[in-house]
């Protein structure tokens, strides 16, 4: 009978973080990955915010194959005929430790897996896990490729759908209100072109988010990140809005239309698309967090629902990495006690609550309900766009006075609705 101390299911950031941490502590750990290599099935927007996790990966992230440090933020309110954009730059972003980096997951995760292997973890790619093994009410291993593999404890790091958590009876299938789909193209461009188009010093990067017409008024937005030699361009659309809300537009068309917009087309001109990908994203925030442990099992990363959208920042990967570390620390404690019961493993939740992970989810508990306000995705971009149109407008003949021009847009019902939205946003 094959028996290991720890089986980790899934070679994404949470699984690799758990494997790396456990292997460094001398634990016998095997990680099962269904792709040809860790990273083969993984997709991000994306950017990694490194400051919250630096302390958990001493000496590691400094040498990681990250793409570009992000030194410039952009945000665009995209209306049908016009757009309003602002940029935010900060010299602090160019000093170490840099706050965030663009990242391509197939490259990063593959490297991270090698680091975990060098630390002593066993990584088995091309291996799909089909079921859990139950013994006396506890999870005692998994079934992979028809073979039973036993373990003292299993860590479900199998991503947003987490079929393993379902098989273990911890949760049911997710719903369309709490999930979005991200659709992305990686577009190859020479580094000098990237730096010229985005006004960047050599090697530096930009991030840009788009709200409004990018998703035709549906929940979500567009994104653009500069990598070393490519751009990551994509849209995220809430799945409920995608299938229920007008206009009925097929998912791939959102990205095609977005790419043709005048705000985007010149930025990707002459670029060659080299990959097309898509992935479901947890959008439930605090309410989307599932059970974190059971007898003989822990759940980490997207599988646990650890993704948090605050509009200007969209985060998941650092929560995945930290939760993988905390799962590993919980296992080290359980191993010392020889006790992998649900009660003992619930120390995982205590560790998460003592860290930025669950503290962030608690602070932004109301974020999903505030951000799902449809006015953010159509009305505000159109309304502010119309105001700026009038301010910039020089018509044939005399120009109207500015104050009455603005006043026209600030009707009583408009202000009342704005006040209502601001009141709700106070909970952020």
């Amino acid at each position: 009978m094959e028996k290991f101390e720890v089986i980790i299911v899934g070679g994404g950031l949470s699984g690799l973080s758990a494997a790396w941490t456990l292997a460094k502590s001398g634990v016998e750990v095997v990680l099962l990955e269904r792709g040809d290599y860790p990273g083969a099935k993984n997709v991000t927007g994306g950017r990694l915010y490194t400051r919250p996790i630096l302390e958990y990966f001493p000496g590691l992230l400094e040498k990681a194959p990250l793409e570009r440090p992000i030194v410039r933020e952009g945000a665009t309110l995209m209306a049908g005929e016009r757009h309003i954009t602002f940029h935010y730059g900060d010299l602090e972003y160019s000093r170490d430790p840099r706050p965030s980096f663009s990242i391509l997951r197939s490259r990063f995760d593959r490297w991270f897996a090698e680091e975990a292997e060098n630390a002593g973890a066993m990584i088995l790619p091309k291996t799909r896990v089909d079921d859990v093994i139950r013994e006396g009410g506890r999870i005692a291993g998994v079934v992979a490729g028809g073979d039973p593999l036993h373990a003292d404890v299993v860590v479900a790091c199998d991503g947003v759908l987490s079929l393993l958590s379902e098989k273990a009876g911890l949760r049911g299938p997710g719903g369309s209100r709490d999930h979005a789909v991200g659709i992305k193209e990686v577009i190859s461009l020479p580094p000098e072109k990237i730096e010229d188009r985005f006004n960047l010093e050599k090697g530096a990067g930009a991030a840009h988010l788009f709200v409004g017409e990018a998703t035709r008024g549906k929940f979500g937005g567009g994104f653009l990140y500069t990598n070393r030699e490519s751009l990551s361009l994509g849209v995220v659309v809430g799945i409920r809005d995608l299938v229920e809300k007008e206009p009925a537009l097929a998912a791939p068309d959102f990205l095609d239309d977005f790419k043709k917009r005048p705000e985007i087309a010149p930025l990707v001109r002459d670029g060659e698309t080299v990959e097309y990908s898509a992935h479901v994203i947890p959008e439930g925030g605090h309410g989307g967090i599932g059970p974190l442990c059971g007898d003989g099992i822990l759940v980490a990363g997207d599988a646990a629902g650890f993704a948090l959208n605050l509009g200007l920042t969209v985060r998941g990967m650092e929560y995945a990495m930290a939760s993988g570390v905390f799962a590993a620390k919980t296992i080290l404690d359980a191993r010392a006690a020889g006790n992998y019961s649900r009660e003992r493993l619930s120390r995982y939740e205590t560790l998460l609550k003592g860290s930025f992970v669950l503290q962030d989810f608690e602070s932004f508990r109301e974020a999903p309900r505030i951000l799902e306000n449809p006015r953010f995705f159509r009305h505000y971009p159109e309304w502010l766009g119309a105001m700026f149109h009038d301010l910039y407008d020089v018509p044939a003949g005399p120009k109207k006075r500015l104050f009455p021009t603005l006043r026209k847009h600030l009707s009583f019902p408009e202000l009342l609705a704005l006040l209502g939205d601001l009141k709700k946003a106070r909970k952020l």
């Binding site: 792709g35 995760d109 299938p173 789909v181 097309y276």
Partner: protein
């Protein structure tokens, strides 16, 4: 779909390794279920289509394994799994 040619070209850029069996199946008798029709719009690879009789069919080649159809339609209409190990899409950038 309006931009089908573009989509096929994009999917042609990805690395896919063939599997012996389709990993997602429409459950028998569910072909006309309204929940299934959501996949026609939702699938980023455009793999679901509705025929003239209102029945939805799925062609699994080009599946990005994103999970959107499972979330949009649910497991009562779809028998949903990941492809067996070492098959399906293999992202080189991700």
């Amino acid at each position: 779909m309006s931009q089908d040619g573009t989509l096929k070209a994009k999917l042609g850029l990805d690395v896919f390794k063939p599997a012996r069996e389709p990993h997602i199946l429409i459950r028998p008798g569910m072909e006309r279920d309204p929940r299934l029709k959501k996949a026609v719009l939702a699938c980023p690879a455009g793999l679901y289509s509705e025929d003239g009789n209102g029945a939805v069919t799925l062609s699994i080649d080009g599946c990005l394994e994103c999970g959107t159809c499972r979330i949009a339609c649910g497991t009562e209409v779809l028998d949903w799994n990941y492809p067996e190990g070492g098959t399906g899409v293999q992202f080189r950038f991700g």
